[in-house]
Symmetry: C2
Subunit: 207 residues, 2 copies
């Protein structure tokens, strides 16, 4: 199902889901497309179209059932399927991601961190141990985890990525601000925080 | 100019720029659309279209001048116009963003951090001081900075956002995983790290 959705639709659905979680917590039973539209500053027609696309039906004047829409989004986006990953680099960003509680709600489980700094090795971040990077192959072989979240400094990102690929990592979510060269069967997702900020500036005309 | 570009085009241009910076550093003079396309796994026609849209001309069999294309992107996306911001919350994520060197290259200057934790106040992160959050109004009045990067825990994000708005902040880049309610004249950009990851999973069919 999710393969039929555009990347932008997937992002919008995760945003609707964030609102639905807030509504659940406040024990609100129903939500309208107009409420979602105004909170996210997205066109209401778009909201209705997205929700229709995932086969959730609303009721006239009442809107959608919060629980039902939340469950459908979770099912469509495979939130319940656990995806296990390692964080590479136990600096501020690596630790922030390891502690980012929302990841768990969406099926992303960070199992451990890896670093080359001996003063960090053996310590824990939010209950997750920091191991020495040169031990990662053993961990990958035992755990079958093949997703790495790369948060090393820019300078060493390519070298570390090469080492991860050699060690058996297949998917890299790259937070280092550089474009990585990897073999064809390895998949890299370049996180682009500054791109996100520049969109904000362009849309809101900040200058 | 940048207002005529789609959000996705802006993101792609920042990615091309990352490659061009790497090429500059390696003193490579020219780049082809096919090189960009293969590094980013983007369709080559799309790359050529994006570059044509910003009025950069390539030469047959040589490609584009690295310096020229880099300069045009910087000019189109206003990289040279400094946008000053405060980070709210000096936890791991706030500190990571304050240290994220790439922001400076793209015109985003983080000037200070704010927190409520007394043990953090007065310390510095990458040369930027951490101030007490209750002092922010004074800083905003003096500096005229009106962009806040919100990295507080989820639970207090709305309360802190309300306080920021009262204090004179106009733009909020929100990293807390909640949708903020703000007055109509305040602009919020919801950063969506988990949305980004879910796109990656959907595209690569990770499950």
């Amino acid at each position: 199902m999710k393969n039929n959705l555009s990347q932008r639709a997937i992002v919008r659905l995760t945003q609707y889901h964030t609102i639905l979680r807030d509504y659940c917590r406040k024990d609100i039973k129903n939500i309208t497309s107009s409420q979602i539209s105004s909170l996210l500053e997205i066109d209401e027609t778009q909201v209705r179209k997205d929700i229709k696309n995932i086969n959730c039906k609303g009721k006239c004047k009442v809107g959608y059932s919060v629980i039902e829409l939340k469950n459908i989004i979770e099912s469509v986006l495979d939130y319940k399927i656990i995806k296990r990953a390692y964080v590479i680099g136990a600096g501020n960003l690596g630790c922030a991601l390891a502690k980012y509680s929302k990841f768990n709600d969406y099926g992303l489980e960070i199992c451990a961190l890896f670093d080359v700094d001996k003063t960090k090795i053996g310590k824990k971040v939010d209950g997750k141990e920091i191991y020495s990077l040169d031990q990662i192959k053993k961990h990958i072989n035992e755990s079958k985890i093949n997703i790495a979240i790369l948060t090393t400094p820019n300078k060493v990102a390519q070298e570390v990525a090469d080492f991860l690929v050699e060690s058996g990592i297949k998917y890299i979510w790259n937070f280092a601000p550089t474009i990585l060269c990897v073999p064809e069967d390895i998949h890299v997702w370049h996180e682009n925080l500054i791109g996100s900020f520049l969109q904000f500036c362009a849309i809101e005309n900040i200058s």
